[in-house]
Subunit: 283 residues, 2 copies
Amino acid sequence: MRPERAKSMSGSMSRPEPSIKPVEMPEATDRRSRRDAKTLIEYAYKRLKTNVIRGHLAPGSKLRIEFLRKEYGVASSTLREALSLLVADSLVTVEGQQGFRVVPMSIEDFREISSLRKMMETRALREAIANGDDDWEAGVVGAFHKLNLIDLKRVNGSEALVDVYNERNHAFHEALVAACRSPWVRRFRSMLYDNSRRYGHLSVAKVGIRMSVQSEHRAIMEAALARDVELACRLIEEHIDLGLRGLAQFPPEEIAAGIPNLPTRGAPAASGRRPGKGAAGRS
Amino acid sequence: MRPERAKSMSGSMSRPEPSIKPVEMPEATDRRSRRDAKTLIEYAYKRLKTNVIRGHLAPGSKLRIEFLRKEYGVASSTLREALSLLVADSLVTVEGQQGFRVVPMSIEDFREISSLRKMMETRALREAIANGDDDWEAGVVGAFHKLNLIDLKRVNGSEALVDVYNERNHAFHEALVAACRSPWVRRFRSMLYDNSRRYGHLSVAKVGIRMSVQSEHRAIMEAALARDVELACRLIEEHIDLGLRGLAQFPPEEIAAGIPNLPTRGAPAASGRRPGKGAAGRS
DNA sequence: GTCAACAAAAATATCGACATTCGTTATTCG
DNA sequence: CGAATAACGAATGTCGATATTTTTGTTGAC
């Protein structure tokens, strides 16, 4: 069903690079998601969300309608609605006559998120383990396998591989709780997870991925499949704590700044500043 | 600072009717909130939120832009953005080319909300009791007093008094956790509480207010002021459970239907139906 | 009588122009 | 020289018209 990439790579090595389809390269993303998004609002919403989570839109920065409008090629109301939808995810705030803003990052924020995540994640996991059927197991095993195919040592440093890793890591954790049916738990968990991903990306960018992560994932998966609720919950709590600890060492201002040296794809200037007055001035 | 209502009531009776300023009568609300809303979006947002929580917009019903647009006197994009903001509160859903919809109600939904509310409410209360200063205590005592001024026996039946009661009940519970600083806990608690208010209103409309509620409130307040965390948490959990039990007796379809015999202020027809074809047809 | 294709109608989503508000800089007054 | 003020520019918020999509209603064939 996807005849487009027929003659791309015909290698036959034993285990080549982990089939990196260019997950969200700047161009590819646009085309793809614009196709399978039902509406332009949804398209803008997803793209904005990705960029916030990845840190391409700096934490705390102002989201100027006019700029993003042109950048994304949609009307102002369309973009505005997409941003409003992003408020539901607690990734963006909006205030009276003040416009939209990326939610700031801080270590206290990450602490609270991690703490609540432990509640929600375990609750979701409990339920998933109780309800999980064969399909759920298959999903977990599959997602873990895909995640495990990535050679961690090679990830640190490579932009593209980092993206793939983050994507698959996300998929694995989703698969774990896929069998949880409670809508509210799912919603809260999802909000918290999305927010925590921002810190996850930051952590990867700053200190790289810790090597123990694969074994942690494996242990969690095995406990879940063995239906050992208590163990699985304990392990996932530790997993969350380790993520927190990885960032706790940095000074607050470094965390608030987000990922450094990032070309801020789709964002105006760095933080709250104006784009600079020079350029086309006429005085 | 409010010279408007200078010569209104000069009574000097021992304890008259509990000074019912018409909290959100259909007209008054519009004027008032339209004034102190910074933007039209905020105005529409608040008004829609109130109507959803009160059940004037039936659970599960479709929110037709064109209809509400005229009703509220704002442009379609403005209303659209207000609705998008309501998605953040989990009071409204939006789906692809399908428009907006009031989130449905069900007893399972209420169960999950109540369950999660117990987590969040206790967590918020714990923190509030730990941090609470004199202002917090004053706020709690004041809110309780106002709530307690209402004669419950007289409430059941009177539309206006029900609104006042619900409003003050809300204020009391807000005051209890006002000293909680954790943004995420506050946010989640708030979402859950708003949603649970829908069921609260339904409960009041169907079975009236249980007479024990005042003593429950008093006990919670006293425990909180005495800084008895464990007792306060236990009491509030019981409080929540009692609210749930009040509705659990009804058949599912009655709960899904929302408040009966309500003129659906600001809503088109009852549920998913069209407004009727007659009127200005020209065939 | 049931189903399917087609046409009409309604509702959603999208757009770009316009009005309003806010923050900044330049100016004036004490 | 400093503070308050006024004009400017930029960004937000608001609007109604238009394009697309979905739904409804009807006709015709099997």
